[in-house]
Symmetry: C2
Subunit: 220 residues, 2 copies
Amino acid sequence: MILVSMTLSPTERSTVRRGKHRAVTDRAALYAVLDAGLICHLAFVADGAPVVLPTGYGRDGNTLYLHGSTGASSLRVLGAGADVCVGVTLLDGVVYARAVFHNSVNYRSAVVHGRPSAITEPGRKLHALRVITEHLAPGSWSHARQPTKRELAKTAVFALDLTEAAVKIRTGPPVDEDEDVAEARAWAGVLPLRRSWGEIEPCPLLPDGTPTPPHVRHRD
Amino acid sequence: MILVSMTLSPTERSTVRRGKHRAVTDRAALYAVLDAGLICHLAFVADGAPVVLPTGYGRDGNTLYLHGSTGASSLRVLGAGADVCVGVTLLDGVVYARAVFHNSVNYRSAVVHGRPSAITEPGRKLHALRVITEHLAPGSWSHARQPTKRELAKTAVFALDLTEAAVKIRTGPPVDEDEDVAEARAWAGVLPLRRSWGEIEPCPLLPDGTPTPPHVRHRD
């Protein structure tokens, strides 16, 4: 098993101890997890209680962008400068151990802590929306119609700095007790989980014969 | 598009208005989402700030079970009777619209609010661990070694009532502005996302020739 656990906050001594080279590697791992995910789970505190919601996002450099309808109550909380926590998790497999206590999952996970700032300047807002759009649906920004002023006004956009973040990655076979391995009392191994694109479903309202564009047809 | 949004809290008037039949349907939808997911995102408040972590779970009737190492700080927060919010999301596809403003995802999502209670009675604890084990790795409980007293002592288990919950489901094609549809300005449709099991990876420490048991080989 390889279990990697990294805290990327520069305010923590652990980061300093690991040195610069490791810190660069860690940041690359964080970016890789965020780029591989499609949606995040956004947590915030509303009326003193935790709330978690799935939502889209996009990354540009060391910034994570979030967006939503200006009418959503969750977005009003963010606009007030509240702390948030964002989790992105990729589940890579189920780990079957010889003892149920050691059952586990293989996964890549990023958890980001911070206080998002609202983006209101039109140029920056458009850039952020482009990043979010291209994350979820690469190629869409240049293919589809871009936002009108009215659509922009209905969309709230936030930037979250990626400085305070943690990455955890587990790979490899189960780790069992020596006695259980020696006794060979049960099967053990990993059942990998794969994510793949299914058969494209064109919108029924498209004119007959509309070709599916390459950015959809050949999406990785 | 079918966008279903349900709040299952009996304390809300909306539930009463929808009547009994609908309430039963909603609860079935909640259970279906929870049963289809593999991991959840658990949110809680620590030192006044939100935290979200991916973790395993299991459902039995109207109870969601959570567990973790007794040493984990997150579990200590839960043990203190704090509010949590649990999100389970299944991403079913990327929705490409004619306007990026209408890009979306097809998904099934459950969000549960509540205050978990610690389970300490050995019989109930064992039952909860069985539920969690069978959720992640069906067939494991009877195949692999069950927990020792020491392993049980190292595991904290919590029960969360599923009474306060919301389910959201989006299916179907994009919903665009009439003008964009009429102008046929861009391709639109859905790229479904599929989840499937990959090729089984037996543990390298298994004796040669150990067969893969049916509960792994034929997992749905």
